[in-house]
Structures are given as structure tokens and as C-alpha cells.
């Protein structure tokens, strides 16, 4: 974990409510795709945890949905503004069990952390398949970005306005060796049930600190109590314990 100032390079709309922000700063604390940053904002007491969509040595990309006071403040920020970030939070995805044909499954604003994961897997020579689920055509983002990486991309929409009609579980490839998922909990649960292969899922919870100190985001797993922020947000399928 590292606390440092990042400067906003760009902040642009991808859809009506999803924005992409590129920041410049020290990303040395980030060690794996699927980690997150925790952003301090004016007048708001708690930091806002946002997953890392992409990063290199000096830049960081976050893709966020505007849902409340914190993300509304982010949307209004012009390039040049500085933000106080905690970086390198969470465990991130483990690439080692991916096999030759991993599938990445993203739902809505759960899609962003899969982008850098796809980059890493492709760099390892994997044939990466991506299934992205959205509610409707106007909410789709990053389809072309995944294609540009060389991924085989399938899109589903709940209302059928684009791609396959229905949920991501209806479009899962049969030859996948391993899965990586991020999205709303009902989607994760459906993926868990629909897959015979092993995989990893990224979870969300309201957090206090984001770095393991407050025990605000604990969950029960088959391997004990875990903090979503520190021991997660990524869990292995085999350890997940769904709460009733």
C-alpha cells in the first residue's frame, strides 16, 4: 500500500453514467490486476474504493459509475486536479491457474478490473475469451477495447438490444479452462452455479479503511473469516460461502 498524489490527465464519459479517468502518479504499489485504489474526496469522510482498470509505471486508469456524492464529485473533476490515493489495495487476481483458454466474465461496472487482467493473460500467450453483460445497449463500454487486445468478445444484454439476449451465464464458452469474474453478486452467484470449471471472483462491500484495519468489510468463507479489502476482493471459487 502506498499513499500518494495523482494528477488527473483525462476524465471522459463512456456512457451516460460510466466515466473513465486517467491519472498520473506513482503506481509502484500496484502488484496485480483486480486490486483497487481508495480515493480521498473533499467534504466526504470516507475514501471511495474504485477498482483499477489499467495501469503502467506512471499512469492509472479507473472506470467508475456515477452513483452518489463521491462519484459525482469525481465526474466533475477537470484534468490537472490532484487526488489523494491509497494504491495497491487488495489481493488482486492470481494468474497462475488460468490454463490455456481462460474466460473473463464481467457484469456492468464489474467489467473494468478485467481489462488489465486480460492484458496480462494475453502477454502470457493465453487465448482470452471475454463475456460482458450489460442491461441494455446504451450501457455497453469497453467492448472494442477488449477486442483491440485480441480477446474473443461476446456481449449480452438483459433486454436483447445488443448481442445475445439474457445474462452472461447463457454465453459462457464450453472450452474455457478457468474463469475470472467481476460483477454484481447475483451475477457472481449465477456464474458460480453455471460453471463446472474453477475460477476466481471479485467481491464488493462497504468499506471503512480499505486496508484491513477496521474489519468493516468482513465475510465468512470456507477457509475462515476474510476481509474483502485485504484478503480479497478476489476469492477463489472453492472458498466462497454464499450467505442466505
Amino acid at each position: 500500500m502506498k499513499q500518494s498524489l495523482f494528477q488527473i490527465i483525462s476524465n471522459t464519459a463512456l456512457t451516460d453514467s460510466v466515466w473513465k479517468m486517467v491519472l498520473k502518479g506513482d503506481t509502484s504499489a500496484i502488484t496485480a490486476p483486480g486490486q483497487f485504489v481508495n480515493i480521498r474526496l473533499d467534504g466526504l469522510y470516507l475514501r471511495r474504493p474504485i477498482s483499477v482498470c489499467d495501469y503502467d509505471r506512471q499512469t492509472l486508469t479507473i472506470v467508475y459509475k456515477v452513483v452518489g456524492k463521491g462519484t459525482e464529485q469525481l465526474r466533475a473533476m477537470p484534468p490537472g486536479r490532484e487526488l489523494d490515493l491509497l494504491t495497491g489495495l487488495g489481493n488482486g487476481y492470481d494468474l497462475s491457474p488460468a490454463g490455456s483458454r481462460p474466460v473473463l466474465i464481467g457484469g456492468g461496472v464489474g467489467v473494468p478490473p478485467l481489462y488489465h487482467l486480460a492484458k496480462c493473460l494475453i502477454a502470457q500467450g493465453k487465448a482470452v475469451q471475454v463475456v460482458l453483460g450489460f442491461n441494455t445497449a446504451s450501457e455497453i463500454f469497453y467492448e472494442s477495447e477488449f477486442r483491440a487486445l485480441g480477446c474473443q468478445v461476446t456481449v449480452t444484454t438483459v433486454d436483447g438490444s445488443y448481442g445475445g439476449k439474457g445474462f452472461v451465464t447463457q454465453a459462457l464458452p464450453r472450452d474455457a479452462t478457468y474463469f475470472y469474474a467481476c460483477g454484481p453478486e447475483p451475477m457472481l452467484k449465477a456464474v458460480y452455479r453455471a460453471t463446472a470449471i474453477s475460477g476466481q471472483m471479485s467481491f464488493e462491500e462497504r468499506m471503512g479503511c480499505g486496508f484491513g484495519a477496521c474489519m468493516g468489510c468482513s465475510c465468512k468463507t470456507l477457509t475462515g473469516y476474510k476481509r474483502i479489502c485485504k484478503d480479497g476482493p478476489v476469492m477463489r471459487k472453492e472458498e466462497i460461502l454464499w450467505q442466505a
Binding site: 500500500m1 469522510y45 462491500e205 471503512g208 484495519a213 474489519m215 468493516g216
Partner: protein, 305 residues
């Protein structure tokens, strides 16, 4: 040269800044960021007799200048704390540490304190009779003078270490409870624990916190904490540790002027993991600005003249 030394129940502290229980784990997350040996001491995560998962999530809600938590004393239980957490703590912190203890019966408190009494690194036992987030225990011992005194007596009977009773602000008369603890043998008082609060989500029209209510902390509660430290420190002869919303060197000095012999810093650690380091770095300059040579000299200073 500004001197920050104080003494807490006979044990010297290099400075009065103490991260509060539940906001600092067992220290090692923060030891990754800075040398936590610069702290006076710290109070580690509240420990109970048995392991506890705590409350369902969401456990956290944001407030104006503060937050609500309803963690519910999640901890691995005193045996595991001693076997697994204290060795890790010892590897990164080399001073006497404060053990925070909670319970659901008088016997629970005594059991846990007796175990922790045998740990050489534990300098003080901070007995939490004020957790608002558990049922049938915690705060119920801290809301009546006789119940708080009973816990105090039971703990004092099993330990030779200084016993500090951590009090709840969710009472009508905190002074009478503090006095009852002092009469029962407490060596110190720490206050305040969190204020009972709640938030409602406008979208779902349901409480944000799964447990409905939780403990409100952060800068918003500082004036309430300061007032209670002022009242209690004048009513008892034992040292008072002041806490509640402290997030700057100025807050530390203000709390000590109100009567605190030392201070605990809680929620600030969660927002800025360097909060205590930053406060310590700022203290000498702020002391100089206000003409303070020895922090020890200003304890209760607002009462004079």
C-alpha cells in the same frame, strides 16, 4: 526542545498519542507504512473470551465529518490473540502495548484479562464496557455505575497490570460511572467510545447498517468527547485518556487542556493511515506556536485561572 513525555498509570510514554482499539488492528498493517514505535503505545483490537465474527455487513456508514461502524467485536478470541497475533505485534512494536478487552459477562471479562495479564508486553488492560454493537454485553456494563464497578472489581482481582475502564458516552451521567469505577479500583478511565447512531439509505428506505444502529465516530464527536473528558477528569483522581474525533496535533493539545493525560486516535487512522505519524510530526511545531514546553504541564490546564 519540546518534551512530549507523559506517564500513564505509572508507565512512561514517549508521547501521549495512542491509536485507539479497533482502528489499528494489531499494528502490523500500519508497520508496513511507518515505524509504529514512534507512538506512545497503541490499543489493539478488542479481545473477547471466544472467537467472534461480529455483525452482518454492511457494517459501515458514512456521516458528515464521521462514520458509523457496527463491526461487533470481530476477533479470533483471546487464545488465538495470544498465540498468533501478539507474536506478530511483538515483531513490529517494542513498547508496552494496551490490551483492549470486552465481554458478555463479568466472568468473561475476568477470564480474558487473566489470560492477557500473563503477557509481558501488555502494559495496560483497557476494559471496554462501552461497545454499542453487541447485545447482552458490552455497553450494558458501562451504562450503570454498579455494573461498571462490578466488572472493574472482577478484573482488578485477576491482574496486577493497570486497569483502564473505557466508558460509553451513551449515558445520562458519565461522571457517576467514572467515579464508581475509580472507587472499585480502576487505575484509569478512557473515554469516549462511539455515540450510538444510524443512517437510512434513501433508495432502499432501509437502515444502511445491517445491524440498524452503530457507533458514530470521527471529528463530528470531538466536542462531545472534550466535554466529557472535562467533566470526568475533574471528578476523579485517576488519569483520563481522552478520545473521540481527534485528528490533529491541535486536537491533542485541546483534549489535554481539558484534562486528558493521554489521547487515543481512532477513526482518523482509517481515513489517513499516517494520521498518528502526521500528528506526532506536527506536535512540536504546534506546541511551540502555543508556548508549550512540556506536554505534561498542560494536562487539565484549561481549569486554571
Amino acid at each position: 526542545m519540546a518534551s512530549m513525555n507523559v506517564s500513564l498509570c505509572g508507565i512512561p510514554l514517549d508521547n501521549p498519542v495512542i491509536p485507539a482499539s479497533g482502528t489499528f488492528g494489531y499494528g502490523y498493517e500500519f508497520a508496513e507504512l511507518y515505524d509504529i514505535n514512534i507512538l506512545g503505545t497503541f490499543s489493539f483490537k478488542g479481545t473477547t473470551k471466544d472467537p467472534r465474527f461480529g455483525n452482518p455487513t454492511p457494517r459501515i456508514a458514512e456521516c458528515t465529518s464521521g462514520m458509523i461502524n457496527a463491526v461487533g467485536l470481530q476477533n479470533p478470541g483471546v487464545e488465538k490473540v495470544i498465540a498468533e497475533e501478539l507474536p506478530r505485534l511483538k515483531a513490529c512494536f517494542h513498547k508496552p502495548v494496551m490490551a483492549n478487552v470486552s465481554g458478555f459477562s463479568v466472568e468473561d471479562y475476568a477470564y480474558t484479562c487473566q489470560k492477557l495479564d500473563k503477557e509481558p508486553q501488555v502494559g495496560w488492560l483497557e476494559v471496554n464496557v462501552s461497545c454499542p454493537n453487541v447485545h447482552g454485553g458490552g455497553m450494558s456494563f458501562g451504562t450503570a455505575p454498579e455494573a461498571a464497578a462490578e466488572v472493574t472489581r472482577a478484573v482488578k482481582a485477576v491482574t496486577a497490570k493497570p486497569v483502564i475502564i473505557k466508558l460509553s458516552p451513551n449515558v445520562t451521567d458519565i461522571v457517576s460511572i467514572a467515579k464508581a469505577c475509580e472507587e472499585a479500583g480502576a487505575d484509569g478511565i478512557s473515554l469516549i467510545n462511539t455515540l450510538l447512531g444510524m443512517r437510512i439509505d434513501l433508495r432502499t428506505r432501509r437502515p444502511v447498517i445491517a445491524n440498524t444502529m452503530g457507533g458514530f465516530s470521527g471529528p463530528a464527536i470531538f466536542p462531545v468527547a472534550l466535554r466529557m473528558v472535562w467533566q470526568v477528569s475533574q471528578a476523579v483522581k485517576i488519569p483520563v485518556i481522552g478520545m473521540g474525533g481527534i485528528s490533529s496535533a491541535e486536537d491533542v493539545i485541546e483534549m489535554m487542556l481539558a484534562g486528558a493525560a493521554a489521547v487515543e486516535v481512532g477513526a482518523a487512522n482509517l481515513i489517513n493511515p499516517y494520521a498518528c505519524r502526521d500528528i506526532l510530526n506536527a506536535l512540536p511545531g504546534v506546541m511551540k506556536a502555543y508556548g508549550i514546553e512540556h506536554l505534561n504541564d498542560i494536562i487539565g490546564g484549561a481549569r486554571n485561572g
